[in-house]
Amino acid sequence: MMKKEITFLLHLWRANLIAAMEFRVAFLSQVIGMMLNNALYFLFWIIFFDRFQNVRGWGLNEMFILFGIVAVGYGAGVFLFGNVMQLADVIATGKLDYYLSLPRPVLLHVLASRSLSSGLGDFTYGILSLLVAGVASPDAIARIILGAIFSMIVFLAFMTLINSLGFWMGNATMLAFQAGNAMLTFALYPITLFDGTGKFILFTIIPAAFMGAVPAELIRAFDWFTLAQLFFAALVLLALALFVFRRGLRRYESGSAIQIQS
């Protein structure tokens, strides 16, 4: 069963890539443009740490690692499962009908049916950022892979969870946009900036710490406790997202929008 789903996923990704390659210039402009975009954004931190050196134990190198891991996790997430950014819209506009009419796992099929080319730009930029930070030893690469997978799962699970609220709300597009915005914004800032309530929020309601700060910590210095924390958080979020999506699906109704995908 699992093998069948993985083969299906690989076929979807292949089809997405072939579709993107049809518009090669647009694809490349998105990839290179996103890398340039990230580099320009990161200039802020270069200017900031040039002036202020160190803020609560965070310096430029820590920022390279944090930015790198968030970009890799987010980039891989939206490149492989691009519809996660539009799931609320898919639910609200009845486009789930198409996926429900096919004998494939609905959520997996919806999420992987779309690929954001710019995600590949984020992913590549993230790798470069981690290289600049000097994390390139074999064990560091293993930690990066682990951290990136967890970062991606946390992001995808959180977005699926929020977008799935559309089953109850009708239209959760704005909520999903704001939640995604908050998740990325907070993930890209040093966790040490936040105390008490702030930290509590970033480890629970908006779990941005598990997308950025905790995976970054794992890359800086391996620790079983940090790994267990990440594993547990990713597992809980994923289980919650799947539960909410499945419960929501039972409530789903539409005016029959079955149509051939163009």
């Binding site: 402009s29 954004y41 200017i47």
Partner: protein, 273 residues
Amino acid sequence: MKSILRFTSLRFASKYFAILKTQLLNTLIYPADLAARSVSILIFVWVFINLWSVTYRAMGQDQIGGMSLRETIWYLMLAEAIVLSKPRLAQNISAAVKDGSIAYLLNKPYNFLLYQISIGIGESITRLPFNLIAGGALVWMAMGPPPDLGAFPLVLIAIALGWIIDFLIAALIGLTAFMTEEIAAFEWIYAKFLLLLGGLLIPLDFFPAWLKQIAQALPFAYTIYGPARLFVHPSVEYFIALSVGQLFWLISLGIGVALWYRKGTAWLTINGG
């Protein structure tokens, strides 16, 4: 002859004012949507309060670049409000080019670009108060009252001029779709110029002197940094200097957009219909 000219220019202006008013009313129909959009400013302002409070504390200074912590946060709140209130004009123009609807818009009895700018201002005017109220309330609670509000009408004029500069740059980017169709990358990069050289993430006063000089010579600073700085350090002299700079960029970019538009429409090919 003079009166005919005055009459036609009045009719010309009233046409775009009517478009602006229509858009303003359109946006106001959905107050819940406007309020929901204001959540973004709360997120950014909260991050800024944390980041800069920690930074000022770590530096052990009351002032950085001539600004106190309270002034910095109010500056950043206004900067965010300016940016979050404006619509994505470049995307609207590019969408019209890509889906071919520009063919129907070009033969209407109005100038396509002035139409887009009027719509942009109409939308921004409705979004700004919501963002100012949400962001301002959070900053007031965390940092204390805003600087002198006596000069706020001047700040509003500076914001409006800044928006028009931004719309002209967005139009330049949007019209690039006549040649490239895909403009997302240009839009992202422009957004990052605003973030950094426009002073959205950090006041230009915190830059090294050489970078501050470069940033101040570019149009981005006139859309965000100028109005936000006027808000925290109000003075008539600064307002005049800012307005002169803004008018210079308005005229220069206006000429650039007009030329680019003429070239783009000559290039335009619509398939089907």
